[in-house]
């Protein structure tokens, strides 16, 4: 808030004389407006990216007609959805039916309040930030059940029940895993969590406590993916089984709200993952290189860059993997993720207590870096080999 205030005063010095409630309204309102703008525009970008990425993976072009490279396609779709009639089937519970998408949206959008975009660029630096994210994002499950129940449709009911079971199950390992970085930082505030990782790539939590943190990161990402109903965990809206799951009966803008909520939730999960494990708004270069570009702070760029990369990974997985069955999904949550998460929490707690390992293992400097590099090199080799294989096949075909 301070930075908004300082900036405003610098640009409009006359504001200093304004009554205090005007200042508060403006200073609180501007970041809120920015968040609103971001959550409104974000899904448009993600949907376009999703359609293009899926298109390239499926050997087709994706949207190409509206605007250059189909850039305006999602805007056209949004306009279409806005103008479409919202259909209320007979016998739906109108109150709940209308309330459901709103609650889902609130649950998806509210965590943006505590996402830090920079050292001082944050709507509210709550001292319980991580807890706030976990608590608010589980609000949306109420909306999903509400939608399933109020639709008076058996498929929607199934979708609602499935999403309740799934989100509640995956929330537990996710929160356990949130504790791992929180214990190391000793704070629930997202700002403090980022501050712990300052000093370049090698200080990111992902690259410390070598075997613990990478596992925690991957597991948190998986649990987060399950929380926002992405394939392979998209059983609440499994198209081939439940038609459209909980939003079967929704149309027009209410349908769009569910979509917006889903994509925003993706962003929130990705942003939280990058804050916890990938250094949040910090630049990956040591010594704060490119943390600012002249007078322009680049924190927001790094956060969005990391979060969008994770979103890309989510889309990549979605268009590659098939869907799990309900019981297999529960199996993953309760029998794999949760026990491992418990073990990680206990082990991390143990090492944090010892003074000599409180800031990472002794071998981290020697092991974590080289191993991560080796892994990246391995991925590179695999990619090159795949490309070579493709080229050889193409040559064979041409012969």
């Amino acid at each position: 808030m301070d930075i908004t205030y300082d900036l405003l005063l610098r640009i409009f010095p006359a504001l200093a004389d304004a009554p205090s409630w005007v200042l508060v309204a403006i200073v609180a309102g501007l970041p809120a407006l920015a968040c609103f703008a971001f959550m409104g525009v974000g899904p448009v970008i993600y949907v376009y990216a999703e359609r293009k990425i899926s298109g390239f993976m499926q050997d087709r072009l994706g949207p190409m007609r509206v605007g250059k490279w189909g850039l305006l396609q999602t805007i056209a779709d949004t306009v279409k959805l806005l103008f479409k009639e919202a259909i209320f089937p007979r016998d739906v519970d109108r109150t709940l039916f209308l309330l459901a998408p709103i609650i889902v949206c609130v649950g998806a959008f509210l965590p943006l309040v505590v996402i830090p975009w920079g050292a001082r660029l944050q709507t509210a630096d709550l001292n319980v930030g991580v807890f706030f994210v976990a608590a608010i994002s589980s609000l949306s499950v109420i909306g999903l059940i509400m939608a399933g129940w109020a639709s008076n449709n058996k498929y929607a009911l199934f979708g609602g029940m499935r999403s309740a079971a799934q989100i509640v199950s995956y929330e537990i390992p996710a929160i356990m895993l949130l504790l791992v970085p929180v214990m190391i930082a000793g704070s629930l505030s997202l700002q403090d969590l980022v501050a712990v990782q300052a000093g370049g790539l090698q200080n990111w939590l992902l690259f410390r406590y070598f075997p613990i943190m990478p596992i925690a990161f991957v597991m948190f990402f998986v649990a987060g993916m399950a929380e926002c109903n992405r394939t392979p965990f998209d059983i609440p809206e499994a198209e081939s089984e439940l038609v459209a799951g909980f939003h079967t009966e929704y149309s027009g803008f209410f349908f769009a709200m569910f979509m917006m909520a889903e994509y925003t939730e993706m962003f929130v999960i990705s942003a939280v993952s990058s804050v916890l494990f990938l250094g949040g708004y910090l630049s990956p270069f040591p010594g704060g290189v490119l943390q600012t570009l002249g007078p322009l702070p680049l924190g927001w760029f790094w956060l969005i860059f990391k979060a969008w990369f994770l979103i890309f990974v989510m889309m990549w997985l979605r268009w590659t993997l098939p869907r799990l069955r309900v019981d297999q999904l529960m199996h993953v949550a309760w029998k794999v993720l949760l026990p491992v998460a418990f073990v990680l929490v206990v082990v991390t707690g143990f090492f944090v207590l010892l003074p000599e390992t409180a800031n990472g293992f002794l071998w981290d400097r020697w092991v974590a870096w080289p191993l991560t590099l080796a892994f990246v090199a391995f991925l590179f080799v695999v990619m090159v080999r795949a490309l070579r294989w493709n080229r050889r096949r193409a040559q064979e075909l041409a012969a």
């Binding site: 499926q58 198209e239 098939p322 019981d327 075909l397």
Partner: protein
């Protein structure tokens, strides 16, 4: 296998009075993304578990058999195309062969080879749809589009040959409608080479070997060999249970006996034999075997002397009084035509033994005790086409 396992569920399963308080009737279809057409499945579910399932068919009934009695023999062909619209070549081939058998027409080896080429290309195209939509049922969208892309290329060949992409009216009584165009062999070989070298390995890499895919399917919808035979399953569904029954080997027609190919069989590699995975795997292997047959047929075609494909096509098909039953191996199993002739221009009676119909009949048996997601997997693995069930 005990007798009790072979008995169908009791009829009073569907008595509304007998419905448990926990249970719910779920109508799946006729408009549902997973039922592959206008199939309606009534499920009695307890939460996610299906206690009983009952398929309702007939939404696509178009009086095929009655229509046949009112048109002459060549006129039946377009109707036969529309039965199994995903594999139209196989339908017309069966009917043409049945009528030729009754009328005593012998076609030239050239025409036979052309028919084999068309039938096997159609088998590849049909299995592309079957396997592709199946992966979509399991939740993976990408392999579906990859396979449809390759099916397009097969359809391009068909279009090049006879002008149609879906319903060809290609096999005639006594021949085929068009000769293969010049350069067909080369184009077909290019397609097959790409198919063998890229599509199939990619498909196996991407989805068939995927752990989630295997976990979802292996051990689901297990149809034992005895059950399969007792319900008269045919084609890939029966071969998925490990029974090597293929009419191209057992009762060859069109010179299939002279081709070197293997009958694809379910192996039960990741679970019990006869699971959904096996039935799907058989289709994948069959595509490869079809490609083998096609290579041989194309080789043969190059050495063969071209004959007029209309040489034996009668101006007016005259069929002597009598009846014939002819069965052929369509992509979905044994397709049988029972044709009765009273010596007039129109058939007196045409009865079709549909492979999808019998596959559908085992559905209620296998569906008991499954989860809803497995029901989708089961319907997909049986690879039904409603046009052929309802006719």
């Amino acid at each position: 296998m005990s007798a009790s396992e072979l008995t169908p569920p009791a009829a009073n399963d569907w008595d509304p009075e007998a419905l448990d308080t926990d249970e719910m009737i779920l109508q799946m279809g006729p408009q549902h993304p997973a039922t592959h057409g206008v199939l309606r499945v009534e499920l009695r579910t307890d939460g996610e578990v299906v206690n009983a399932a009952r398929p309702h068919i007939g939404y696509l009934h178009r009086c095929f058999e009655k229509h046949c009695e009112n048109v002459d023999y060549p006129g039946v062909m377009p109707y036969a195309d529309r039965m199994d619209y995903v594999a139209a070549m196989g339908n017309t081939l069966g009917f043409a062969l049945a009528v030729e058998k009754l009328a005593g027409i012998e076609v030239s080896p050239y025409v036979n080879t052309v028919r084999v080429i068309m039938a096997e290309l159609q088998r590849i195209a049909s299995h592309c749809v079957a396997v592709g939509t199946y992966t979509m049922d399991i939740g993976a969208f990408t392999p579906f589009l990859h396979l449809l892309r390759d099916r397009e290329k097969v359809l391009d060949l068909f279009e090049w040959t006879c002008g149609a992409r879906l319903l060809y009216n290609y096999n005639w009584v006594g021949g085929v409608s068009h000769d293969l165009p010049d350069g067909f062999g080369r184009a077909a070989r290019d397609l097959l080479r790409e198919f063998d070298a890229i599509t199939i390995p990619e498909l196996i890499d991407l989805i068939i070997g995927n752990k989630i895919f295997i976990k979802r399917l292996a051990g689901v919808g297990v149809c034992s060999p005895e059950l399969g035979i007792s319900y008269d399953l045919t084609g890939p569904n029966l071969r998925g249970s490990g029974i090597p029954r293929d009419l191209r080997k057992d009762a060859p027609y069109c010179g299939y006996e002279s081709y070197d190919f293997e009958v694809a069989l379910g192996e039960g590699r990741f679970g019990p034999l006869g699971s959904c995975f096996d039935r799907n795997w058989v289709r994948v292997v069959e595509m490869r075997e079809s490609s083998r047959i096609l290579h041989q047929a194309l080789d043969r075609l190059e050495k063969m002397e071209r004959t007029d494909v209309h040489e034996k096509v009668p101006k007016r098909v005259k069929v002597p009084k009598g009846e014939v039953y002819f069965r052929s191996e369509a992509p979905r199993g044994q397709l049988g035509y029972y044709v009765v002739s009273d010596g007039k221009a129109n058939p007196y009676r045409v009865k079709v033994k549909s492979p999808c119909f019998t596959a559908m009949s085992v559905f209620h048996h296998l569906a008991r005790g499954m989860m809803i997601a497995d029901i989708v997997a089961l319907i997909g693995s049986l690879d039904i086409v409603l046009g052929e069930i309802d006719r």
